[in-house]
Amino acid sequence: MPVRIKRSTVIATQISVTKKFEKVRRNKQMLNEIGEAVTTRVRLEARRRKPLNDTRTFPALTEGTKARRKALAKVNKTHPSFKPAKSSTTFTGQLLDAVTFKIRKTLVELFVAKSKRQAIKGARGKTLEEQIAFNNELAKELASRGFVIFTAKGLKSEPKLAKRINNIVRRTLRRALKVD
């Protein structure tokens, strides 16, 4: 005997499925987990002297820059991973700590926050007032000199991170399964 399904039942089912799936796509916990995983990786890679999603490393430092960084480190509190001779975007740690994310509907948007910086004593002979005041502005200035923290490309050169994100989505989907 053929099974007859009323058109109204099918439509109701489709609507119910779409609405529930939309909840998964907009799942705050999932989007937050993705944002956390990506920002943590950006900071880690930048401190390892490599921008996220880029195979190039940061430009090498000149001997003069190394000497200046060493001198500045004596009068400033530096991030634990700071090394004067190694090219990185970490000195005090403020810039990378300002890497954050925003959730826009189903999208995770990565950016450097416009947060005020604590000045570096003795930097390039400038007064504290003359230094770049905000982290997002410093990120732009550094990028113009080849120190790009992250790019807007996909995650092709970050297979492990792509795998993590895939797993975060799969875990969220599993938790969303219904039993009644």
């Binding site: 499925v17 880690l44 991973s81 993590r164 989907l173």
Partner: protein, 192 residues
């Protein structure tokens, strides 16, 4: 055997027979197996984040153990440790977060599920921590019978309903769609 923990260099995994542990026939109920598998993974992650592990015996019973802290001096001075901004006293098995972030359901069949890693880098890493090969032994992976009982009681009402009542069409369609998406994402997993 209710659950079997395998700790080999290229394969660290635990297979759990859900029927024997929960007293419910899970065959043909993929959505329930996926849900329980995820609950087990969540349990391991939560416990590890709190600095605790489990010492499992052959019969599946386990004893809660504190994951050895602090981290070793040489590790706390390493470039990666400093770059990750980790604290030397807080042992949570995370540096990049990849090992914990990639624990997965590896296999589902009949009434059993297998939890572990589908990743060539993370298996040896987990093996090292589980056995104390080159680092202090920190048995963070696996669940004991008692932890499985906790999961069972947390999902008791849901499981009872799922066994006794027929799923409505909306729920069934939703679950089918989710399981289909999980399959698609599984297929893309190795390419990532």
């Amino acid at each position: 055997m209710m659950s079997i923990l395998k700790v080999k260099k290229n394969n660290v995994e635990q297979t759990i027979n859900l029927k024997e542990e929960f007293g419910i026939d899970f065959s043909g109920k993929d959505e329930l197996k996926q849900l329980m598998g995820q609950a087990i993974i969540d349990k391991i992650i939560k416990r590890t984040a709190s600095g605790k592990g489990v010492s499992l015996s052959a019969n599946g019973s386990g004893r809660s153990v504190k994951l050895k802290s602090p981290y070793s001096k040489s590790y706390t001075k390493s470039e990666d440790f400093l770059a990750a901004g980790k604290s030397k006293n807080k042992v949570n098995m995370e540096l990049t977060g990849d090992m914990m972030g990639l624990i997965d359901i590896k296999k589902i069949s009949g009434n059993s599920i297998t939890i572990g890693w589908n990743d060539a880098d993370e298996n040896p890493k987990a093996f090292n921590h589980m056995t104390g090969d080159t680092v202090p032994k920190r048995p963070f992976f696996g669940v004991s019978n008692k932890e499985l009982k906790d999961i069972k009681s947390k999902f008791k009402d849901d499981l009872d309903k799922a066994i006794k009542t027929k799923q409505n069409e909306g729920v069934k369609a939703f679950n089918e769609m989710v399981l289909g998406l999980l399959d698609d994402l599984d297929a893309g997993k190795d390419k990532a």
